[in-house]
Symmetry: C2
Subunit: 282 residues, 2 copies
C-alpha cells in the first residue's frame, strides 16, 4: 500500500514526540476535497494557511514545493480528503519557541466521508451542543490545532440521525458547527456569525460570502442568538469537504430548503466545475 502521508516530503506517517504540534497543538491545518485528482480551491486553502501561520508566527513552507507535494498525493489518491497540517516543529524549552524554527509539514489523504448523497436534497438534522467555545480574539478565526472544544462537543451525540452540532460561545452567541460554518437567511439578507472572538474562518465560508456579493445578495457578519436561528427562513452549513448542507431541522424547528440555499449551492457547484476545467486546461 502507498503511504497516505508525507512528513516534510518523506513518505512516512510518523512524527517526533518532541514536535510542538504534539506537545502543545502549536500549529495550524486545512482540510480540502480532492476530486478527480484536483485539490479543490487549493489556492484559497494555501492563502488561509499562510494567513494563519502569519498570525501565530509559524514558518510557512515554500509554496511551489508544497504544491508539488499536494499534486503527487492527488495523483495517487484522486478521490479523497487532503489534510495539510503545519507545526512549529521540534525544540524550544517548554512553551518558549526555539530561536531557529524548522517547521513540520504533514500532508495526509483520507477517504471521503460516506454521508448519504440525499443530504443535499433533503437537508440535515442539527442540534445545539452544551460545550461552549471560549472567547479569545488572539486565536479567533484561526484553524489551529487546539481543538479540544470541538472534540468535547462532537462527543455529545452518536448515531447518524444528527449530522452536526452548533456551538455557542460562553456568552451564549451562536458561532459555528463543530466542523462547519453557519449561514442563515433572515428577510432578504444572508447572515453568518462574526468570528472576531472565536470560531474558525472556513474557506467555504469565505466562498459563500463571495457568492453572495457576486449574486447581489446582501450579507452580514454579526452576532447571532439562538432566537435569530429560530426566526430564520433558511439555514445552511458549510465546509470544504461537504460544500453546502441545507439544514432541515434544528432542535424543535423545521426549515425548508429555500431559494437562497439553492442559489448559493449552484454557485459553488459551478465554481467547482470551473476549478476542474482550469486545472485540466493548464
Amino acid at each position: 500500500m502507498h503511504t497516505r502521508a508525507l512528513v516534510n516530503g518523506d513518505p512516512t506517517s510518523r512524527v517526533e514526540v518532541w514536535d510542538r504540534g504534539f506537545q502543545y497543538g502549536d500549529g495550524v491545518f486545512t482540510t480540502l476535497r480532492v476530486r478527480s485528482g484536483i485539490p479543490l480551491f487549493l489556492d484559497h486553502h494555501l492563502a488561509r494557511l499562510e494567513r494563519d501561520c502569519r498570525r501565530l508566527a509559524l514558518p510557512f513552507p515554500n509554496t511551489p514545493g508544497l504544491i508539488r507535494e499536494v499534486r503527487s498525493l492527488c495523483e495517487i489518491w484522486p478521490e479523497g480528503v487532503l489534510k495539510v497540517l503545519l507545526t512549529r516543529g521540534g525544540g524550544g524549552r517548554g512553551y518558549r519557541c526555539p530561536d531557529r524554527v524548522q517547521g513540520t509539514r504533514v500532508l495526509s489523504m483520507h477517504p471521503v466521508p460516506d454521508y448519504p448523497p440525499t443530504i443535499y436534497e433533503h437537508g440535515v438534522e442539527v442540534r445545539f451542543c452544551h460545550t461552549r467555545l471560549g472567547i479569545n480574539p488572539s486565536l479567533a478565526g484561526i484553524k489551529h490545532l487546539n481543538r479540544l472544544e470541538q472534540v468535547l462537543a462532537r462527543a455529545e451525540w452518536s448515531g447518524t440521525d444528527i449530522h452536526e452540532g452548533l456551538m455557542l460561545d460562553v456568552e451564549g452567541w451562536v458561532v459555528e458547527g463543530t466542523m462547519t460554518n453557519l449561514f442563515l437567511v433572515l428577510g432578504e439578507t444572508l447572515h453568518t456569525p462574526l468570528l472576531d472572538r472565536c470560531g474558525v474562518a472556513g474557506v467555504m465560508r469565505s466562498l459563500v460570502l463571495k457568492a453572495a456579493a457576486e449574486l447581489g445578495l446582501p450579507s452580514q457578519e454579526r452576532r447571532l442568538r439562538p432566537e435569530d436561528l429560530e426566526a430564520a427562513e433558511e439555514l445552511f452549513l458549510t465546509n470544504s469537504v461537504i460544500g453546502i448542507w441545507p439544514v432541515r431541522r434544528l432542535a424543535a424547528k423545521t426549515y425548508r430548503i429555500g431559494p437562497v440555499t439553492r442559489e448559493i449551492s449552484r454557485w459553488v457547484a459551478k465554481k467547482i466545475q470551473e476549478e476542474s476545467v482550469a486545472r485540466y486546461g493548464a
Copy 2:
C-alpha cells in the same frame, strides 16, 4: 545513547500523525522533577492526570504499569524532568472519537532547566503578558494539550532577565504565569487565583494550599486584579519543576522575599526530603 522516551512502553520517540494528540491536542500531560532517581510527588501527579482524563473522558492507563515505566526511566536518568503525556490515541473521523479508544502514553525525560540557583534567594523578575487566556469552564484547570495561548504569551519576550510572564483572562483577571501558578500575600492571608474559568491547576499549587492549611495560614482562592498584586506584600510562583520562585519585581513594583514565602518554601523542601526518605525506605 539511551532513548529518552517511551511510547506505549516502547523505546521510541515517534508517534503516528493520526494520533489525536497531534491532530487536535486531544490529551493531557504532567511534568515533574526527578531527583536522585525519585519522581517527586508522583502520586499527586498521577492523581491529577487521572482527574484530567476523567474530565475529558480520556482512557487512563493501568497505574502499576505506568509507575513501572516511570521508575525504569528514572533509573536511567536519575536527574531530570519527566513528562507524562496521555492522548486519546488514533482514529475516529474528524473530531468524533472512535468507538473503541486505545490511548497513547508518552513518557519522556528532559534536562533540568539551568536557572541560576540564586533565584531562590534573590527572587525573579516577572512581566505582564499581552496575550490573554480565553474563558471556558469546561477546560478550566485541566493540564491539556491545547497550549497555544501559553506559546503566544511566552513568545512575547526573550532573554534571561525576565523569568516569567503573568497572564490575565480576556476580562482582565489575573490567572497564572505561562508555566506557573501565582500566590500573593495580602495582610495575613495567602491568595491565589480561582481556576474555575481558565488556567491550569498545578500540583505544586495544591501542595502550597495544603502547606497553608497545615501551617495555620488562612488561604483563599478568588478573582484577583492586577491592583491586588500591586497591593500585595509578597508574591511567589509555583510549579513542580521549579518549586517556589519568590517574585522580586513585577512591572514597576519591587517585592521583598517575605516570611510567608520562606515558610512555604521550607515546608515544600521538607516534603521533598520526606519523599526521598519514603522511597528509599520502601
